[in-house]
Symmetry: C2
Subunit: 429 residues, 2 copies
C-alpha cells in the first residue's frame, strides 16, 4: 500500500502556484480523505532563477521534462503550463510513460482530446481535465458522472470570463468596447493578446470539450460556428436593452436526430433569462437532459484558486484510482458517429439592424426580401436616429441559419440598404 | 467478468417507476458506458395486484424483501420506498447481506446516515444517496468529488420545492398561504400531509445531509434551527417586497472556528440575490469554498424523472465500482468532531415588524430595548395602516440570534407592544 503520492507539476504560473498552495494548505484534509499524503516532488519551470513566492523547496524545480518522467516515484503529472505544442507533447509522453495526467489545458483538449484520451486508455492511465472548462465549476464531472444516466440534448452557457466581464461593463457602465477591454486587461482578466477571448475561440474550445462529452461524440473545432464580440457595434448593447435583451457571448450546443450544432456568438438573451444576469467574470452553463429537465451550474470561470480547485479535485480523483489500482479503467470511445447539421438544419430567431435610405417603399421592398426567403417577421421597427439616418430593426420568427445568411447576402446587394449595422441570434425564448 | 448487473428495486412509486423507465429507455447508453447490461431483476411492492404502467414483466414483482436479499444474482439494492422504519431496516439488511445500496431517502439518511455509512464501510458495500437532496441536481457528488480538495465554509440554498412553489405564488400572484397550499396540493407538489414541507422539516433533513458532507462532521437534526413558512403572516411577502426583499425558505449552514450553525427558516433575501429569483418548484444551492469562492447548482428539486436521474446516476457509479471490484472502498468517517455554535455565536441581521400603541414616546422606548441589548439599528420605520393601527418596522445591523431572541422576549412583555407581527432573518447582504 502506497504511503504517499508524488506529483510532477508542469508549469508554476497562475494555476500551478495555486495548486501548490492548495496541496500545502489542505494537506491534513487530503490525508484524511485519501489516507496518504500528496506532495509535489518535482516542478518543471522555464527559468530556475525566477523568484517564487512558495513554501516549496527550491530543489524540486527543474527545467527538464525527462527529469520528471524518469522519476519512478512520481505517479501523477499535473500539466498547467498552458500553450499547445509543448503541453500536448508533455501529456502524450507522460501517458506513454504510464503516468496519469491531470490537465487544465483547454486548447490541447479541444484540439486532440480524443487522441490523448485514447492514448490514456491504451496505457491504462487516467487523463482528467475538469479545469479546462468553467474554472472552479465541476462541469466535466457532472456530465460524466452526475448526469451519466440521462440523455443530454442541449447545453447553453457563458464559458468565457473575459468577454463576460467586458459585456457586463458595456451594459452596466455604458463603457465602449475599447474601454472595457482596457479595463479587463488592467485587472488581469484579459491577456496581453486578447484575440482568443474576444474572437470567441477560447469559448469555442470549451464548447468542443463540453459537447463531445455531453453528446458522446467527437466534436471538432471546425464544427463550431464562431463569432466574437469584436463585431458588436456601438449602441448595440443599449439597443438590445431597449428591446428587453442582454447581449452575451453564448456557447450553445444542441443535438437532435439530424445531428449536432455547436456555436459561440454574441446573442440577444431576454433580460429575464437567468444567464442574462450572470455578470462579470462568472461562468454558468445550463444542461438540458431528457429526464432531468434543466439544471444549471454557476461559478468563477477563471482565476488562480478556483481553477486550482478543479485541478486538485482531479488530483484527488486520480489518487483514489491509483490507491485502488483502478486508474485508467474508464474507456472514452464515443458512442455516436460525428454528424454535424448543416446551416439549413439550424433554427433560431434573428435580430437584424439595417441602415437604409429614407425613401418611399423601402420598408415594403426590404420585408419582401424576408418573405421571398420564407422568413416571417415578429417585429419590424423603422426609426430615425439623431443624425437623420434611418435604421430598420427586424426580429424574425424562427428561421434557419441558411435563411438568415441568404437574407444578409441579398440585403448587402440591395440599393436602398446603406449597410447592415449588426445582427444577432435571439436565444432562449 | 460480469455480463450483467441485477438490481433489486424496493418500491415502485413515483421515483421507482421513473428509475425503471430510465433504465429501460437508456439501456443502449448504459451498455456503452458500462460494457454490461443493467436490469431490474426483482421489485418489491406492497400490493401485487395493483395495475402498473410498465414494460417490466409482472413476474419480477414480489412483496418479500427476503426474496430479494436471498437472490445471489442481485448485486445492488435501490431503495425508493420512502418512509423511515421499514426503509432503514431494508437498507441495513441489504448492506449486511453484502449488497450495495442506492437510496433516495432523505429521512433515513438525515436520521441515521452516519450509522448506515459505517455499516456500508464494514461490509465493503457502496451506499449512495445523491437523490436524497436536490432532486436532479448532483449536489452530493459535487461536494464529495468536484470540490473534494477545497474547504467549504458555507452553504445557502433553497432545498424544498413545495414551499418554494408556494412562496412564488404568494409573491407573484398575491395568493394567500392557504390558496398557495391548496394549489400545490392540487398540482401534486405538496403531499396530503404537507407538515414536513411547510414546517421546514424536509428542508432541515436535507441540510443535515449537506452540512455533514460539506463540513466532514456529524450534524444531527436537533442541531438545526427550524422555522417553517406557516409563520409567515398575511402581508409579509408584500411588505418584504416594499423593502426590496423576497421571502424564501432558506437552508443555511456555516462553519467557523467556533463550530457549525445550520438553520432552515423563512428569510428576507435581497431581490438582487440570485436565490431570490429561483422560483416555483426549482431548487438551488450556493456552495462557498475557501479556494473556489462561490459556486451555485440549480435544478428541479423533485419530480419523478429528475429524482430518478440522480438515482440512476448513482446506479451507474455503483455498477462501475462493482465491475472494477472497488465497491465500498470509500471510507466515510467524519474528519471533525461535532461542535455546534450556541445562539450567542450566530450572527445575522433581523427584520422585526411590531404592532404598537400609537402613543407619545413609544419609538424612543422601543428603540431603547434594542440598544439595551447591544443591538444597533439599520432601519426604523413607523407606519400607520388603513385601520389606523401602527406598525414599527425595524431592521437591525448584525446581532446574535441570542440578542434577537432576548429582544423579542422583552418586546412581548412591553406594555406599548400590542403584538409582534413577524420577524425574519435578513440573509445574503
Amino acid at each position: 500500500m502506497k504511503k504517499e503520492i508524488n506529483i510532477g507539476l508542469l508549469g508554476f504560473g497562475v494555476v500551478g502556484s495555486g495548486v501548490a498552495q492548495i496541496l500545502l494548505n489542505h494537506q491534513t484534509d487530503l490525508q484524511h480523505k485519501l489516507g496518504v499524503s500528496v506532495q509535489i516532488k518535482k516542478a518543471m519551470v522555464r527559468n530556475l532563477d525566477k523568484e517564487r513566492d512558495t513554501k516549496l523547496s527550491k530543489d524540486i524545480f527543474t527545467t527538464s521534462l525527462d527529469d520528471i518522467l524518469s522519476d519512478d516515484s512520481i505517479d501523477l503529472i499535473v500539466e498547467v503550463m498552458g500553450g499547445t505544442t509543448d503541453a500536448k507533447d508533455a501529456i502524450e509522453r507522460s501517458l506513454q510513460a504510464g503516468k496519469g495526467v491531470v490537465t487544465a489545458n483547454k486548447d490541447v483538449m479541444a484540439e486532440v482530446g480524443p487522441k490523448l484520451l485514447k492514448i490514456a486508455d491504451e496505457n491504462g492511465c487516467d487523463l482528467f481535465y475538469e479545469a479546462s472548462v468553467g474554472g472552479g465549476i465541476p462541469l466535466i464531472r457532472t456530465l460524466e458522472d452526475g448526469l451519466a444516466s440521462d440523455r443530454i440534448h442541449a447545453l447553453t452557457g457563458i464559458v468565457n470570463g473575459t468577454t463576460n466581464f467586458m459585456l457586463t461593463k458595456m451594459k452596466e457602465e455604458n463603457m465602449s468596447y475599447d474601454a472595457a477591454l482596457a479595463l479587463a486587461t488592467e485587472l488581469g482578466f484579459a491577456e496581453a493578446d486578447p484575440t482568443a477571448d474576444v474572437d470567441g475561440l477560447d469559448a469555442a474550445r470549451k464548447m468542443v470539450i463540453l459537447a463531445s462529452l455531453a453528446f458522446s461524440t467527437e466534436v471538432k473545432l471546425e464544427d463550431v460556428y464562431v463569432r466574437g464580440i469584436r463585431e458588436i457595434k456601438d449602441g448595440d448593447v443599449e439597443l438590445a436593452d431597449r428591446f428587453g435583451y442582454t447581449v452575451k457571448l453564448a456557447g450553445t450546443a444542441k443535438k437532435d436526430e439530424n445531428g449536432i450544432e455547436v456555436a459561440v456568438e454574441p446573442v440577444f438573451l431576454p433580460n429575464a433569462h437567468p444567464l442574462a444576469s450572470v455578470n462579470n467574470e462568472m461562468n454558468a452553463v445550463y444542461v438540458y437532459g431528457d429526464a432531468v429537465g434543466e439544471t444549471m451550474f454557476y461559478g468563477p470561470g477563471a482565476g488562480s484558486l478556483p481553477t486550482a480547485t478543479s485541478v486538485t479535485g482531479d488530483i484527488v480523483a486520480a489518487c483514489r484510482n491509483l490507491l485502488l489500482g483502478v486508474n485508467g479503467k474508464r474507456k472514452h470511445a464515443p458512442q455516436y458517429e460525428r454528424k454535424v447539421k448543416d446551416d439549413a438544419q439550424k433554427y433560431s430567431r434573428y435580430f437584424h439592424r439595417i441602415r437604409v435610405k429614407d425613401e418611399v417603399g423601402v420598408l415594403t421592398h426590404l420585408t419582401s426580401i424576408y418573405s421571398d426567403n420564407g422568413a416571417s417577421l415578429a417585429t419590424v421597427i423603422q426609426q430615425m436616429d439623431e443624425n437623420n439616418e434611418t435604421d430598420l430593426i427586424i426580429i424574425t420568427h424562427e428561421i434557419s441559419r441558411k435563411q438568415h445568411l441568404d437574407i444578409l447576402d441579398t440585403l448587402k446587394q440591395t440599393d436602398s440598404v446603406l449597410g447592415l449595422s449588426s445582427y444577432y441570434r435571439v436565444e432562449g425564448e
